[in-house]
Symmetry: C2
Subunit: 558 residues, 2 copies
């Protein structure tokens, strides 16, 4: 065994164990060691909110294989033939000697682990902004299993009826749902004008609308000034730019950043995103050192730039690639599309690629379409609405982004669009995708295909649209235009947009004289399908300044 | 209006109305006429089984827009500006005069409709094999809404406690579920050795297993000899090669074929699949005549050959393309992957591309992988199993087929794989797909990614597999080999394969002497994941003839 390859992996949560397991499968002889600072390892970090909410009852379920075997050091030794040093911190990489210095935290004992190949999978840390009072008791961050334990303990003690969540990102949203499920009232405080910047503003507004509907207080464009404690040093309120709100627990989740200190100290190149620079083999600037997971920089192939994307799905894939290459089995990682899924109460939400705003910021000439439709035929029981926004590049006709929100099956469409973007498909190709159809699963023309067809109509100059936020801006500016509702009288009764005139589609040919010819005409219906029909009728009658309201009433978030 | 384009569409169900509507939107001036033999039109044919089962209560829901407007001739006239001639048969195309001869069925009146562009969307008809007794009362086929009415009437009358369904294809399976939901006992009679030839034999066996579990009698390799009637001329039994079975209702659903008589009589070219030959513009051999939907031949881009694929999803897309081109707006249809979805009781099933058998029949060197896993993390409530079989071309490493069966979300994976096959992705590219991950939706490494990775391992010579039907054949032939179960003792107790020895994975390194070195070793566990781990351990110890049982116990259908 003297000549067997020595592989040392720093980090025992996602990418690290994956890399180690892959290396083991490819090289039964290698000596493989995982160094992990914490006691627990190989847990499903993304499952922590569901453990806090009680949806996942047993904490060990997050650290066990599907058949219930705990992934502890003993498991790694016996099943995988991998040595785990937990509660052990990696303190320094000696690249010249090819040794890793580690310290056993309970005893303070140090040693040097020689390596042939080193894999850094040190993950990411929550950002802890300098908010006065952030050291009070019951001001929490969520990273480790122990953090979740503490959170769950407070939730089950019923001592925190009011919780403030600082930050309207992914973790903030998942924790809002978890805390609400525990019976506490949640206030979300977000500094930016919208939650979830992974969405365009009007798509995020749909999520905000839903959260308010279920009783969450959402404060956007709001700054946390300080956190106030009682005499025992426990949180009692938060003071924000929108006022003071009582809270017995505050979660700070304003974002996370890659853990790169070890790599930086070793002189490895850190990329513009703040992650460790790696090539497509997951190799750092030192060819014997790999990095994988949240600490490693990603390349977004839609955006064409480096990015930070702390997702378990990506970490696992990168870990596999790093583990393969470390033992000489060449594999590449092709980068990310930024695909993300998020459940917010009853809403399924997801996105991939670029938002319209992100694309415009990159100088891309954008065309977007919003389609609102049931996820399966309206006549099939259990059909639920989804709203998709598709973004294309006007120059290439390529699909470059998708966002989805709804109680229906959003994620299937995100995954299909992600696959299409990976293949650099045009919207014409997406519209022709032969997606599997049967009434329990989708419409004959799936909502994604509909969306792609709307984009094609827009690209071909057959149709113009206006987004809900653009229409709202027109209202706010007091602009003069015709807003035409072509729904049925029954639909009109339930809800209508302000200042709109009403002519049902079937009556439009006969009553067209009621529509001013010299003004911009914006047409809407429930989903924008009849509005598109109406625009074509108006075009045939000589109207040349018509637009549909993208997504219709279903996608109207205000 | 004298110079406006005259478009005549034959067929008013799926592709026809779609083509007409698209043409109208692009050309507000065109004179557009739909000719439909039946009274009802623009209905969701695929929804008929759910209407029969009572899941869809109101028949009109199948013929209404999502907001409940019936798509009758009045709707087409008022909303679309399209003339519908229903109960009108297209009897002859006069290509020289560019006129369509039609006959109004209730009155027998004939007339000639001049056209500039003709679109044939005559659909398909059930095949009616010459079974003695197939003209008895209560021997039904399912095509039109009226057929479904009759079926539902018989089901709600409770006069048919025993129903025989002849043919184990898509319609047969959907109707088996519908009839069972109505409380009748179903016998399915299939001439071939398996139901659902869209699947490989062992995947179809999983569906058969499920059907038997819910009480359906499935007879494969069984021929219907005759249908026997009582004195009133009503069905009372069916005589098959496997015996006589009482039945008060017989559904004949042995397949359907394209309706091409009108096109054939007009001298249009009929393709090898039996459908009307069309180019990618959906143009027939007469450039002024288009065909779309079930009557038109498809090109399968995975198979590279012509095929017949009667699916509403394809019909709608083709209708759109035909309607566009008919008015001079050039569009292409890129062919089909053969993606199909089917719900069979609690099972979600689907497929696309080629089965392993179909690929071998085409001379392709095939490698396949079967992966069984929960559709989301095992710790997340509501996780359900799915079993995917992926097929790749050994020469190109391209994914060329997928099949899926399970109570979990199969169809998402089918659609992603279809999109990947459309882009001719290799399994390496599929394994790197950045699919959206969050615990409510999928594992960090989605089951599809796992499947692609197994394929990569097989392609790279790291792993060999054996399919359940191949293992069964070994049992049946009495071959000598070691069957090694590496599951836990608790799992072993619930079910095990015959003649297998048992060494839990964690004990394998220590007890390897119990595994014969000179024989083929086939390893299994619940899903094949630990079996793969075991094979790598054995490989490290010098065993060079090991295989995993593809899909493990979860995918074992016998």
């Amino acid at each position: 065994m003297a000549n067997s390859l020595r592989i040392v992996v720093v980090g025992g949560v996602a990418a690290g164990p994956k890399a180690a397991a892959r290396a083991r499968r490819l090289d039964p002889e290698a000596e493989i060691t995982i160094v992990e600072k914490d006691r627990l390892l190989s847990y499903a970090g993304c499952g922590l909110p569901y453990y806090i909410s009680g949806l996942v009852e047993n904490r060990n379920d997050l650290m066990a294989t599907p058949i219930g075997v705990l992934r502890d050091p003993d498991f790694f030794a016996k099943v995988k033939g991998i040595t785990v040093l937990n509660e052990t911190e990696a303190t320094r990489i000696d690249r010249a000697a090819k040794e890793l210095e580690v310290r056993h935290l309970p005893t303070g004992a140090t040693k040097r682990l020689p390596y042939d190949k080193l894999i850094i999978a040190t993950g990411a840390e929550p950002i802890d902004p300098p908010i006065p009072g952030n050291d009070l008791q019951n001001v929490l961050r969520l990273k480790r299993v122990e953090d979740a334990d503490r959170f769950r303990e407070l939730m089950t003690s019923n001592s925190c009826p009011m919780v403030t969540i600082v930050g309207g990102g992914l973790i903030g949203m998942e924790m809002t749902e978890a805390v609400t499920a525990c019976g506490s009232a949640v206030t979300v405080v977000e500094l930016l004008p919208q939650i979830l910047t992974m969405f365009d503003v009007e798509m995020a507004a749909l999520v905000e609308q839903h959260m308010r509907k279920v009783g969450v207080r959402v404060l956007t464009s709001t700054k946390i000034e300080r956190i106030v404690g009682d005499e025992q040093g426990r949180v009692k309120s938060v003071v924000t730019s929108a006022g003071e709100f009582p809270a017995q627990l505050v979660l700070i989740s304003v974002g996370i950043r890659p853990n790169v200190q070890l790599a930086r100290d070793a002189g490895l190149i850190i990329g513009p995103s703040g992650g460790i620079n790696v090539n497509e083999y997951m190799q750092t600037s030192d060819p014997d050192i790999y990095a994988a997971g949240d600490c490693a920089e990603k390349r977004c192939f839609v955006r064409g730039t480096a990015c930070f994307l702390p997702l378990g799905s990506v970490a696992n894939k990168e870990g596999r690639v790093a583990g393969s290459n470390a033992v000489g089995h060449i594999e590449r990682f092709h980068g990310v599309a930024g695909a993300t899924a998020l459940k917010v109460f009853e809403l399924n939400t997801g996105r991939a690629g670029l938002t319209a705003q992100q694309a415009r910021d990159l100088g891309i000439r954008v065309v977007s379409a919003t389609v609102a439709a049931p996820d399966k035929p309206h006549y099939y029981p259990g059909a639920e609405p989804i709203i998709l926004k598709l973004v294309a590049d006007r120059a290439t006709r390529q699909l470059i982004g998708i966002q989805g929100v709804g109680t229906g099956d959003v994620i299937k469409r995100i995954d299909v669009a992600t696959t299409a973007m990976t293949a650099e498909m045009t919207v014409d190709e997406v519209a022709n995708l032969d997606l599997a159809y049967a009434p329990p699963y989708s419409e004959a023309m799936d909502v994604l295909i509909h969306g792609a067809n709307i984009l094609r109509n827009k690209l071909d100059g057959l149709l113009e649209g206006i987004t809900p936020d653009q229409l709202k801006a027109k209202f706010d500016a007091g602009e003069d235009f015709v807003l035409l509702d072509v729904r049925s009288p029954a639909e009109r009764e339930t809800f209508s947009l302000p200042q709109s005139i009403h002519i049902p589609l079937a009556a439009l040919r006969g009553r067209v004289a009621e529509v001013a010819r010299d003004k911009e005409v914006i047409v809407y219906c429930k989903t924008s399908l009849r509005a598109w029909e109406a625009c074509r009728i108006l075009a045939g009658l000589g109207y040349n300044n018509t637009k549909i309201l993208d997504g219709g009433v279903m996608a109207w978030p205000y």
